[in-house]
């Protein structure tokens, strides 16, 4: 298979280049909802076996560490300030939840099963709730 192809069908024995075909790709849940981007991948080594991809890492802690330098520290610093549990680390999507990957990474689970809503929860409490009229129900 040609690694430069945009649409990757994960057929046995085919190869992909992680940086080119997986990093920064859109992640969609089972129902096609846009969830996040692939910020990094977690690899696990086993004796006598080449390392395997075990998880997709998501969020500023993963992106900041990958970027490194001043930009990476800024990304991690902002995240540290925003969340209630800054030492929790990046969100992990087990790779077993990946159904296939083409121009986007498609999961076999829904967003609710992955607990990816921490940023949205922080914005709701610290930003949206402070907007005048936020406590009035719509309609």
């Amino acid at each position: 298979m040609t690694p430069s192809s945009d649409d990757i069908e994960p057929t046995a024995g085919s190869t992909v280049d992680a940086g080119l075909h997986l990093l920064d790709r859109q992640v969609c849940d089972r129902e096609g909802r846009l969830l996040c981007k692939v910020d990094d991948l977690e690899l696990q080594e086993a004796p006598g076996e080449p390392p395997a991809v075990v998880a997709i890492l998501v969020g500023p802690p993963a992106l900041g560490r990958r970027l490194g330098g001043a930009v990476g520290r800024l990304v991690c610093g902002v995240h540290h300030r925003m969340v209630s549990r800054p030492d929790k680390g990046p969100l992990r999507i087990p790779f077993t939840a990946v159904r296939r990957f083409r121009s986007s990474v498609e999961l076999s689970v829904t967003a609710e099963e992955l607990e990816l809503g921490e940023l949205e929860a922080w914005l709701r409490v610290h930003l949206v709730a402070r907007i005048p009229g936020a406590d009035h129900a719509a309609g």
Partner: protein
């Protein structure tokens, strides 16, 4: 180990000679008859070049498409880029060390 720790990592040979930097990580899809639709991705090798600039565009690899000018410039920047099988990696460092500089495979052959 994270992919981000490998990307951009300095690569050195057995005599501590500089070889380049990791520009990408090649993964192989593995399925077993019992796994159904599930599959594994295994790290099988590293793409190593003298520099990282422009490598994420992918134009220096295989049968890539794209504007010929960009493709030509990126390929010039990455001439001499090599594929290193994971079996040649002694330690992930840093710096990442490989068993033999002569075992490098010309990426154009991949």
């Amino acid at each position: 180990m994270r992919l981000g720790d490998l990307l951009g990592a300095e690569v050195r040979g057995p005599q501590d000679e500089p070889v380049g930097v990791v520009t990408d990580v090649r993964l192989e899809v593995r399925r077993t008859p019992a796994s159904g639709d599930a599959f594994d991705l295994r790290l099988v090798g590293l793409l190593v070049s003298r520099r990282h600039t422009g490598s994420l565009l992918g134009y220096e690899r295989g049968h890539s498409r794209g504007p010929w000018l960009v493709r030509t410039v990126v390929r010039l920047l990455h001439r001499g880029a090599r594929y290193v099988p994971w079996s040649e990696v002694v330690s992930t460092g840093p710096p990442l060390r490989i068993r033999s500089s002569t075992a490098l495979v010309d990426r154009s052959a991949r």
